[in-house]
Symmetry: C2
Subunit: 191 residues, 2 copies
DNA sequence: ACCTGAACACCGTTCAAGT
DNA sequence: ACCTGAACACCGTTCAAGT
């Protein structure tokens, strides 16, 4: 079900991921989907969580906060780039409050000692989350626009060409993320 | 035209700002709008620019880069909060590349000496833009959800109640923005 | 130059009724 | 428990034809 939705997302993009398309790809009528999901947004939230799933299985190394934040941000971007329109989809699910940012859990709750951490840590997670999602959203849109510009036709872009995109942008992304995370050093407890 | 669109946006929210609704409010048939705009996205881009317009008339004081960045970020949030769903609308226009971030122009082009500034300044503008838009998007959504929760009914929320919202969130917003802008001090030329 | 009429190809969601 | 049939109330966009 979620897998079928992910396939449509990757093949046809978010605007074409409709309840009717999904139903058809499952050999079922549109109304049937409402036995499993309350609404399309609920379905999209589940898809978002699946896209973010790799964040939870992978552990993040690094002893300083700003180092872990940096690695987490990079990980998040990788997840979003793995599917077409991944950033746009996750962006809206996050904004609607239907999905919690994996950056929050990784930087906050994952810690062994939840008491003695700086109160601004979660707040810093917000900064990283919003920047990464926003940047990747913009980046992914540009990449797809380019892909359309080159081929002319609108439908023969392979998911891979879009997903494995933009090693070019990687550098800029990293340097800004480092800039943000640099600010976190001031919150660091004495190591 | 744009004014009519802004009124629908503020009264009914982004999901109800359709070409058909807009046409009706202008006493015209939907097709007529396509004589003025190539597409709905182009119309929404113009609306976004109108929402961001106050950014261009107001000048930003402050001699250090990180101080100007901070003030610009606060200004941007104010613009987005001035209309219902303002952040969501501007977020997508920015991502689609149909609108340029006012933060970029304020921190970069506005300067008298465009040559001798750090190459990371524009890059820093990205960080501020993405954070502010993402944060405000999330914030605006929460505020509206609350408003719905309190009244129960879906339609009797005044635009003002939504627009003038969340002095509560203001503190958190500011501290994270300060965190980001703090990183900019490292780029500062010697004052 | 500006707009209508009318169509085309879609949407999300609900809900009685079937199995 | 799970799904269909069929409807309800919408969409964005195009384009001949009117004025």
């Amino acid at each position: 079900m979620i897998e079928a939705a992910l396939r449509i997302l990757d093949d046809q993009g978010l605007p074409n991921l409709s309840m009717r398309q999904l139903a058809e790809s499952l050999g079922v009528r549109p109304g049937a989907l409402y036995w499993y999901f309350d609404s399309k947004q609920a379905l999209l939230a589940d898809v978002s969580r699946r896209i973010l799933a790799p964040m939870y299985s992978a552990t993040v190394e690094g002893d300083s906060l700003h180092e872990r934040a940096l690695r987490t941000g990079v990980q998040l971007r990788d997840c979003l780039l793995a599917y077409r329109d991944g950033a746009e989809l996750v962006s809206s699910s996050l904004a609607l409050g239907l999905v919690v940012s994996p950056v929050h859990t990784k930087l906050g709750i994952d810690q062994q000692k939840p008491e003695d951490q700086h109160p601004l840590v979660l707040t810093a997670a917000e900064a990283v989350t919003h920047f990464v999602v926003g940047f990747t959203f913009h980046e992914q849109q540009r990449t797809q626009a380019e892909a359309l510009g080159v081929t002319g036709a609108a439908d023969d872009i392979t998911p891979q060409a879009v997903a494995n995109s933009s090693p070019a942008q990687g550098g800029e992304f990293r340097s800004v993320l480092e800039l943000i995370c640099h600010g976190l050093q001031t919150l660091e407890p004495s190591p």
